[in-house]
Amino acid sequence: MMSELPLLRARWLQALAMATDAEAEWFGQSFGVDDAAFELLRAPEVGLVMARGRAGGTGAAFNLGEVTVTRCAVRSGDDRVGIGWVQGRRPGRARLIARLDALLQSAPALAVDAAVTELEAALAARRAATARKAAATRVEFFTLVRGED
């Protein structure tokens, strides 16, 4: 079992979980996911994962809350086991990620890296846009205690 995933594999699992439907579809088409044959090891399954956080002051770990997660596992024709995990009730996405995970293990690393980088850039852009919108609504409070205007 993998205790540590190679970096590229960890990146593609993350990128595919966070991608939009259109991006995931595009990625799948690029690597021919529909043309390959897969054996289903674990049918997409919805369950709960306990998310853990660390308290700010003390750094003590605590249970943040349960997160719904869908997972799936497949085996490709060339005997690679692919796993897919995604937040939410998303059997289709979990299955797609699992299939891609199996295929990408034997795909050329440069092509994979390029495609993953595109997904990561799109995600970063979405996050930046959200952050900008949120920043635009920021209100500065001035108080007597702070001694400002």
């Binding site: 079992m1 054996e39 289903l40 090891l41 674990r42 049918a43 399954e45 596992a73 085996r75 086991v81």
Partner: protein, 194 residues
């Protein structure tokens, strides 16, 4: 590293149906039940019925003992069930004996305690074939009069071992016999005669 076999194709419905089938077999000792639903191709050396029942019954809290070193079976159990495999038969909640002829004396498995007789081991025994109507004579709870069960491939001393198990009631183990897609059960409450 062993090869992971597929899990239940429709885990919710298959596991429920197969559990129901097992309950039927356990409550009517001597009946041979063919498990319904999907049975995935099992990892070596498990038979389909044994593998499906493990997938449905066992979870991360139930230690499993296998009667040998089987990488495919261990890996599949670990992947799908998350159960711990133990080295000592006495530590297991479920014991899988893949060749009935090499069955250990039943006292080697967890017998339960008087406060918790249900904490005994459930022994899944793979046999060559099962047929109702001939063979061993069974009597007891769940059996109207007598029942007969033919079991292919049992070891020497099987019947005396079952009789000794019966005498330990309410302690003792319960046996699930598996052949292909079929199961039959010998709970500790059943009297067995050759």
């Amino acid at each position: 590293m062993g090869r992971i076999a597929a899990g239940l194709a429709d885990p919710v419905h298959d596991a429920q149906m197969q559990f129901r089938d097992l309950l039927w077999a356990m409550s009517r000792p001597g009946s041979v039940v063919v498990l319904r639903g999907g049975l995935p191709a099992p990892p070596e050396p498990l038979v389909p019925a044994a593998y499906a029942l493990l997938l449905g019954l066992v979870d991360g809290d139930s230690p499993v003992w296998l009667d040998g070193d089987y990488p495919d079976a261990s890996q599949s159990i670990r992947f799908h069930i998350g159960a711990r495999t133990v080295a000592e038969p006495g530590q297991a909640a479920f014991a899988v004996v893949t060749r009935a002829s090499s069955l250990l004396p039943l006292e080697r498995f967890a017998q339960g305690s008087h406060d918790y007789p249900d904490r005994s081991c459930t022994v899944i025994l793979q046999v060559d074939h099962l047929a109702a109507g001939a063979g061993l004579k069974l009597r007891g709870p769940g059996i109207a009069g007598t029942a007969r069960l033919e079991i292919g491939g049992v070891p020497e001393g099987f019947v005396p071992g079952l009789q000794a198990n019966r005498r330990r009631f309410p302690l003792g183990v319960d046996l699930v016999l598996a052949a292909g897609r079929s199961v039959a059960c010998l709970p500790r409450s059943t009297d067995v005669e050759a």
